[in-house]
Amino acid sequence: MSDPLIKRAREGSGDAFSRLVADHQQAVRAFVRRLCALPDDADDLAQEAFVTAWTNLHKLREGVAFKTFVCGIAYRKALNDRKRFNRSGARDTEWSGMQDQSRSSTVDARLTVQAALQTLPIDQRAAISLCVAGDYSHAEAADILGLPLGTIKSHILKGRARLNALLGVPDDQ
């Protein structure tokens, strides 16, 4: 592994790992916040993703960035959370309530963006978060989400079209 911080963290250095967390927390949290309905849930999920990354650091392949590795873990955790979320009727209703509240708000633009994102399926939202909101390449997004490249491109195309329609952005493609 070329990154000395990752090498030291693999050897058990907590100091090296905390520096890795400090360096990559912004990118990972921004990605997870777009996946989750609530920022607090998102931060909790991001923290859990980093802890899982710590225990599975030996699985980080050569050439894969630490950020990509953690985002992949966070995405799988978000998928699992969503499955649990959907199984629980009470929480599902609560979530739908939040969705309606966000959608009805016309005062705060950021709520509109969040609400629009939340209407997308989670895999489309993840692809849009990575490739449109973030600066990830399609290949990196495919690696993070564990999906074929063609599926990523399709998700981005569909997600863009839906977001453009919801936010009133003319589709120029």
Binding site: G14, A22, Q114, A133
Partner: protein, 112 residues
């Protein structure tokens, strides 16, 4: 198109997403790092405790299985070794006594 309608493209979509306030965490957040490291240390502690419990249980189970077999053998070995222990004890006392006597005689000027 009226002048107040800004023609947004997909770059506008990108900027809307990147400027979205709740999705933008701070570049430096020591609280988040501390929280992650707290969870990591807690995980380490639990893993350590799990290993200790596993080792303790394994050793206890092994002793529980092997002690009924080992105890008579140890007792038999101990009884067989009694004459040797007594002989070593007598030899030790004799050597210490001889050494003390030699020192006293040396002080008196009598050399062995």
């Amino acid at each position: 198109m009226p002048f107040w309608v800004y023609p947004m493209t997909n770059d506008a979509l990108k900027s809307m997403l990147t400027n979205d306030a709740p999705a933008a965490p701070p570049a430096r957040d020591i609280g988040f790092v501390v929280e992650v490291m707290k969870r990591v240390e807690l995980r380490r502690l639990y893993e350590g405790l799990a290993w200790l419990t596993l080792i303790f249980t394994t050793v206890t189970a092994l002793l529980f299985i092997t002690m009924p077999v080992i105890t008579p053998a140890l007792t038999g070995l101990g009884q067989a070794m009694w004459p040797l222990v007594i002989a070593i004890g007598i030899a030790g006392f004799s050597l210490v006594g001889f050494e003390q006597t030699r020192r006293v005689f040396n002080q008196l000027g009598w050399r062995f």
